[in-house]
């Protein structure tokens, strides 16, 4: 993938994530911080499908943005064909792993299997 495409995705995910994370944070504040973190309320959030979709989107967007940022930092620290390939594929693998792990939590909780 061309670097310009990767960076456009990096910027796009950032802008999209800002709006969604703001909603996620505001949910904690509008309900009362401690109260919003009680088990039943959190469970209700997960079971509410639009909120679950929003969480999934945040997970995907921030994973892409975060691990691409890490890839950029690591590529600048050391160079070499093998190292660069390892960093790129390693960050991609970590990204997919984190999305899979987080998605499991969202899907299982949303389906009521808790």
């Amino acid at each position: 993938m061309r670097e310009s495409t990767i960076m456009k995705i990096h910027y796009g995910t950032a802008i999209a994530a800002v709006a969604l994370v703001a909603v996620h944070v505001l949910m904690r504040l509008t309900q009362g911080f401690a109260e919003s973190l009680e088990f039943e309320n959190v469970l209700a959030n997960y079971k509410f499908v639009p909120y679950a979709i929003m969480l999934e989107l945040i997970l995907v967007l921030l994973s892409i943005h975060g691990f691409n940022g890490l890839r950029v930092i690591l590529l600048e620290l050391k160079q070499g064909k093998t190292y660069e390939k390892a960093v790129s594929y390693g960050c991609l693998a970590a990204m997919i792993g984190l999305i899979a792990y987080g998605s499991r939590t969202i899907i299982v909780t949303n389906m009521g299997m808790v």
Partner: protein
């Protein structure tokens, strides 16, 4: 870094002094980005405790609803706000917005791209992060 290349190395990359607030903003952006990534991974892991039901969730709350947990969350709030606001400034800068217009340079050759607009953006990011941290602390420690 070998002596042959005479690169400054990580020390040069992370040294925010000597070159003005823009270099400090670059350094804070890197720091906050790495901090937020670490928090994000930890957050995904800790919230998976909900799969263990009420017991698992209560254990998580016991661990995080402490003074240390709140302080960490306060830092995360600060990093998040700074990274976001400065990130918007950097994105606009990357598109050529607010970097000035090319013109014939004249002594003392002050760079137009290091202008008040971007400096205000950086200081705004720092101030907003501080305000958000204070608000966060008021919410968390106030309850």
């Amino acid at each position: 870094m070998t002596q042959d290349e005479n690169k400054e190395g990580i020390g040069g990359m992370i040294n925010p002094r000597r070159y003005g607030i823009e270099r400090v903003a670059y350094w804070l952006m890197r720091l906050s980005g790495l901090g937020l990534l670490a928090y994000f991974i930890a957050h995904i892991y800790e919230t998976s405790n909900i799969l263990r039901g009420q017991v698992g969730w209560d254990e998580l709350m016991e661990m995080t609803s402490t003074t240390e947990g709140h302080i960490i969350l306060t830092l995360v709030i600060g990093m998040c706000v700074f990274h976001t606001v400065n990130g918007v400034r950097v994105m606009l800068g990357h598109g050529g917005v607010g970097v000035g217009k090319p013109s014939r340079p004249d002594y003392p050759y002050d760079p137009a791209s290091q202008n008040y607009r971007h400096k205000i953006g950086i200081y705004s990011a720092i101030v907003l992060a501080a305000v958000a941290m204070m608000y966060g602390m008021a919410v968390m420690f106030g309850e």
